[in-house]
């Protein structure tokens, strides 16, 4: 069986801060990482492979040349092959254009490798854009069934059983192959790279796909101009200024004031 994992290289948004003078994002010195949710998707694929060594894992990333680093990281943990979709015509794509490009890349890889992907795994969303749209839109472009918010999965009786998060709790959904599954954070961390794999990954070939490799792609539907949505502007959200802080003294004094406030504003009317 073959699994394709889609990964995105993102800035570590936990490290991003706002310049109070200019009110803009400080991006300098912020490291680029593999989107953590894509890491969970890759780990889900690796766990299937742990049980069935015949499974082959491919990683696909769309981005600039630097995104090769993200693919090498995937190779150093669990991916067997890596493809980078990189072209100036791809730049500025919104989710619809991105999923169209990725779905065309998936078809191209299938024809190059002479295989069919049984499963396409993605992170539920990327931590920079937070849209959660690319996975389902890839599924739609390929006309595959989808399961979103996956936690873990296993192959059972020729189907994929996916434990997924819902608002009410969790449920197990079964889906036939080929399918698209997006993953959220499970209660374990992905495996780390071994020194041996890390070394090998440095030398492995990362194959490139550009727009000219995609026969029949409609260039009017890709890139900034081919994207139906466009970012008109960005701004830093205003957070309200802090109020009264009781910094020292016994907690009774502060608690008494807050208790009075809660009762006076009829927020707390009754106590059990």
């Amino acid at each position: 069986m073959n699994i394709l994992v889609c990964v995105k290289q993102v800035p570590n948004t936990q490290e991003i801060s706002i310049d109070p003078e200019t009110n803009t994002l400080i991006r300098e010195g912020v490291e680029s990482i593999v989107n953590p949710y894509d890491g969970y998707a890759l780990e889900a694929a690796a766990r299937l492979k742990d049980k069935n060594k015949a499974i082959k894992i491919y990683a696909l990333c769309m981005g600039p040349s630097q995104a090769e680093a993200a693919l090498r990281e995937c190779l150093s943990t669990s991916a067997d092959e890596a493809y980078l979709a990189s072209d100036k015509f791809f730049a500025g794509s919104d989710t619809l254009a991105t999923s169209y490009i990725l779905s065309e890349c998936i078809k191209k890889i299938e024809s190059l490798e002479g295989i069919r992907f049984d499963m396409i795994f993605c992170g539920k969303q990327a931590i920079d854009g937070d849209t959660a749209q690319v996975g389902p839109q890839i599924a739609e472009c390929l006309d595959y069934p989808q399961i979103t918010y996956g936690l873990t999965c296993e192959i059972k009786d020729g189907e994929l059983h996916v434990l997924k998060e819902t608002e009410e709790g969790k449920e197990i959904l079964a889906v036939s192959f080929p399918c698209v599954v997006t993953f959220t954070k499970p209660n374990f961390e992905p495996r780390l790279a071994s020194a041996k794999r890390k070394f090998a990954a440095k030398k492995m070939e990362i194959k490139r796909i550009g727009v000219t490799d995609l026969d029949g792609i409609d260039r009017a539907k890709i890139g900034l101009k081919g994207s139906p949505t466009q970012v008109r502007k960005t701004y830093v959200p205003q957070v309200k200024k802090g109020g009264t802080v009781f910094r020292d003294g016994p907690p009774e004094v502060a608690a008494a004031k807050l208790a009075k406030l809660l009762v006076d504003n009829t927020v707390v009317k009754d106590i059990e």
């Binding site: 948004t13 991003i16 706002i18 994002l25 989710t95 619809l96 931590i127 937070d130 849209t131 959660a132 996975g135 389902p136 839109q137 739609e140 069934p145 989808q146 979103t148 918010y149 998060e165 009410e168 709790g169 969790k170 449920e171 197990i172 959904l173 079964a174 994207s227 139906p228 949505t229 466009q230 970012v231 008109r232 502007k233 701004y235 830093v236 959200p237 957070v239 309200k240 802090g242 109020g243 009264t244 802080v245 009781f246 910094r247 020292d248 907690p251 009774e252 608690a255 807050l258 208790a259 009075k260 406030l261 809660l262 009762v263 504003n265 927020v267 707390v268 009754d270 106590i271 059990e272």
Partner: protein, 334 residues
């Protein structure tokens, strides 16, 4: 494709028993303002096993008209059946704008529909307005973990679509009245639903309604251990509050994700938000900054949460919460 309309559609998402989730009704609030600005009708869309309960609720909360598709194949949400039904309606009626709640199912459905229709979709919006020059919706949403807000336009494609975060808007006032219900028939052969529910594992006996809560007491990493939520729960129960949690607390495994507030959890706007041992990471603040009053209790005098709180107490929550409860009891006993 039918005649293009100026109508604005709100998806009234339902539970398997046919009752509407809050978010669809909430969206009728900004929906009214935007539909009027567009010069079209505010239309509720219900796809369900039995659509009657949700259709009535949509009318009672201000929809001008409701379009329904009902059938046993829609009792439980499935990507395949819902996408087909929703796309059928869009192609038939050609609305100008479609809004869907950014629930787990909403975020599963909306990208699939937008891709099948071939139009743009903006995810997880928290502010909505209309651009007077073009008539396009200005879909506004947090990005980069809540560090920036992005304003997104879908200028050339129709319908323009967006998912909107639950809990951001208040439900419109209830006014029971008769509403036009258009019952569409669209059958989707259950054999063509390519996913199958094997097992439903609900949180046993636990119902978390953060969006509807007037008071939320939230625990963060500062609790130090799972036991901290026993203290939080006891206090919350006493004052009739719901229990929230930061991402850090959920990731520690102290409490389930259903309680999580923030960018990757629920967005809430209660009357009072009491943050205990919460540092105030941007991604958390993105989900609770619109609370009317924010109270922070934290041992760390430099915690960022104090800079956004209306009232703060620098202290150990294990000492402060019992004292606060005692003070409340003594005031209310008078």
């Amino acid at each position: 494709m039918g005649m293009a309309t100026k109508d604005l559609w709100v998806f009234i998402e339902t539970r398997p028993d046919g009752t509407p989730k809050n978010v669809g009704l909430e969206l009728l609030n900004p929906g009214r303002r935007l539909a009027d600005a567009q010069g079209g009708k505010l239309v509720g869309v219900v796809i369900a096993g039995d659509a009657s309960i949700a259709a009535k609720a949509a009318g009672d909360h201000g929809a001008d008209c409701v379009i329904t598709i009902a059938g046993p194949e829609y009792k439980h949400y499935s990507t395949d059946a819902y996408t087909a039904a929703f796309t059928y309606l869009i192609k038939k009626y050609d609305p100008l704008t479609v809004m869907i709640g950014a629930t787990t199912n909403g975020r599963d459905l909306a990208p699939r529909v937008s891709c099948r229709v071939g139009t743009g979709l903006t995810a997880d919006c928290t502010e909505l307005s209309i651009d007077e020059n073009t008539g396009s919706i200005a879909w506004t949403r947090p990005a980069f973990g809540g560090n920036i807000m992005a304003v997104i336009f879908c200028a050339q494609h129709r319908p323009q679509m967006g998912t909107i975060r639950p809990g951001v808007f208040k439900k419109p006032a209830l006014a029971a009245r008769d509403v036009d219900v258009v019952k569409e028939r669209f059958c989707f052969d259950a054999k063509n639903i390519r996913t199958r529910i094997v097992e439903v594992l609900a949180h046993a006996g636990e119902k978390v309604d953060l969006e509807g809560a007037e008071i939320i007491v939230t625990g963060g990493r500062g609790l130090g251990e799972a036991r901290g939520f026993e203290v939080i729960r006891k206090f919350a129960k006493a004052i009739g509050a719901e229990v929230g949690a930061s991402r850090a607390a959920v990731e520690e495994g102290w409490i389930t994700h259903a309680h999580q507030v923030g960018q990757t959890g629920k967005a809430v706007s209660p009357k009072v938000y009491i943050a205990c041992g919460v540092s105030g990471a941007t991604q958390h603040v993105a989900g609770m900054s619109s609370s009317e009053t924010i109270i922070a209790i934290n041992k760390d005098p430099n915690a960022w949460i104090f800079s956004i709180a209306d009232y703060g107490i620098v202290g150990d929550l294990y000492e402060v919460l019992p004292v606060l409860e005692k003070e409340l009891r003594s005031i209310l006993a008078r």
